[in-house]
């Protein structure tokens, strides 16, 4: 993409497109990847509320897969996951393994 010249800029550097940060994917920051084990998931949605990167897809009140385009791999979800019968529904694995 050709970088913008000074004549192409919005006046006052105002960002006109709300939520345009979605175009900036942060998934490549990840060193660890979360894996969701649905069988251990009790759908408490704590992972969703605690995720700092809005990277857990939820539809109709039920969680689905991780949004790996944005997940930075912090691991908060895995640490906070209650799981089922002592078994966590989220596990962190090293990227590239």
């Amino acid at each position: 993409m050709k970088p913008k010249g000074w004549k192409d800029l919005p006046p006052g550097s105002v960002v006109l497109e709300a939520g345009s940060a979605v175009k900036f994917k942060t998934g490549s920051w990840r060193a660890y990847r979360p894996i969701w084990h649905e069988e251990n998931c009790i759908q408490c949605l704590l992972c969703w509320i605690y995720c700092p990167d809005m990277s857990i897809k939820v539809k109709d009140g039920k969680r689905g897969e991780f949004d790996l385009d944005y997940c930075k791999g912090c691991g908060i979800c895995a640490l906070e996951c209650h799981g089922k019968k002592g078994k966590k529904a989220i596990e962190m694995v090293e990227e590239g393994k």
Binding site: K4, W6, L9, P11, G12, S13, V14, V15, L16, A18
Partner: protein
């Protein structure tokens, strides 16, 4: 129908603001501006305007709140002086960088230390590089007229920049002069409805004001900001033309006084120009071709036009009521820049006068005009920058 009144500069500006009736006003006291905004507060308290005031706890917050209000979408004013303007400094750049047409009378006063409450131009000169348009005013009438015109200039859709209207502290802000008010309705019609541009309060189109912009685009944004300034002169002249139709009073980028055939000239801002004009008349009566240039638009500075107006003079003294310690006076630097490109240019000297409200007397103007006369006849320049009326 114009109404003839006897009022102070502060009262004149306060009334111009009342006639415009902006949406939001930041109010904070500082001598010698205080009286202007307390008059405005009384207009609000008595229902003469519908403005919402913000009675801030500092000038920094005043400008911050004005920026918030202007970005929200509406007409915004405040006023200040001296230390107050200095405290706003950071925010002045943000108001212009965000392209918000805030209108602010600046009642010029010296800067500390030592503490001094009287009139000089150190405050506004310190703010000349903040990206604001600066319009300077000789007397109460000009302060009033410039304040009204400032709205049309700053809010012009090609411009959208904040404007300072400068007037001399005490000498103008507190002296009662004869002047003419326009009718409220005339002012309202002249200024017109505020036109919104990217308002935050447009909830359907959420915007983000004030992003972080690093090496990739900052340089381009500043270039774009300069481009806007290049359009200001034409707008100032167009607005002045309309204003002349309404008031009969003529304004330009600067005032040329008996300059057409002048051999020697003073370049001087604001109230001291009035004193100087009287002395120039005396010199003219004696057959000395003296003239004066009084800048009105200081930012953007009309370099080409000023050079054209001064090109046939032989010697010019630029009079600064502010100093750049270790440098020349700020106005002197602009005039030398303007004249440098001429093949033949007048000899230039710089006098620093009237700091901290020190009186500028007709005798001072005489002294300078006599010196210029000697230089014009082939005399040598003894010293380029000198302090006028200073005790040894």
């Amino acid at each position: 129908m114009a109404k003839v009144v006897a009022v102070t500069g502060n009262e004149a500006c306060a009334n111009a603001l009342r006639q415009v009736n902006p949406d939001v006003c930041g109010i904070y006291p500082i001598t010698p501006q205080t009286d202007m905004m307390q008059r405005y507060a009384s207009f609000i308290a008595n229902g003469k305007v519908t403005t919402e005031s913000i009675l801030v706890e500092s000038e920094h917050s005043s400008m911050s709140a004005c920026i918030g209000a202007a970005a929200a979408g509406g007409r915004v004013i405040t006023a200040t002086s001296s230390q107050g303007l200095a405290l706003m400094w950071e925010m002045l750049h943000i108001a212009s960088g965000d392209r918000l047409p805030i209108i602010m009378p600046v009642v010029n006063r010296a800067l500390s230390a030592p503490l001094n409450i009287h009139g000089d131009h150190s405050d506004a000169m310190g703010a000349r590089d903040t990206g604001w348009i600066q319009i300077w005013s000789e007397n109460a009438q000009e302060s009033y007229d410039n304040t009204i015109q400032a709205f049309r200039i700053g809010e012009h859709m090609d411009i959208r920049l904040p404007v300072m209207v400068c007037l001399d502290g005490f000498i103008i802000s507190h002296s009662i002069e004869r002047m003419e008010y326009l009718e409220d309705g005339e002012v309202r019609d002249f200024v017109g409805e505020f036109k919104n541009f990217l308002p935050l309060l447009d909830l359907e189109k959420p915007k983000s004001y004030g992003p972080l912009i690093l090496t990739d685009l900052y340089h381009e944004y500043k270039r774009a900001q300069h481009e806007v300034m290049t359009k200001v002169k034409d707008v100032v002249l167009d607005v002045a033309k309309d204003f002349e139709k309404l008031s009969g009073r003529k304004y330009g980028l600067f005032e040329s006084y008996r300059l057409e055939d002048a051999d020697i000239a003073l370049v001087i801002l604001n109230s001291a120009a009035g004193t100087s004009k009287d002395v120039i008349d005396e010199f003219r009566q004696r057959g000395v071709k003296a003239g004066l240039l009084k800048p009105r638009l200081f930012r953007p500075f009309p370099y080409e036009e000023a050079a054209e107006a001064l090109k046939n003079t032989k010697a010019v003294c630029v009079m600064d009521r502010a100093d750049s310690f270790g440098g020349y006076g700020p106005l002197f630097m602009e005039i030398t820049s303007a004249l440098y490109h001429l093949k033949e240019r007048p000899v230039l000297i710089n006098k620093i006068y009237g700091l901290g409200g020190r009186d500028y007397m007709p005798s001072h103007a005489e002294l300078v005009l006599n010196e210029l006369n000697e230089i014009a006849k082939g005399g040598k320049v003894k010293i380029i920058k000198e302090y006028l009326g200073v005790r040894e």
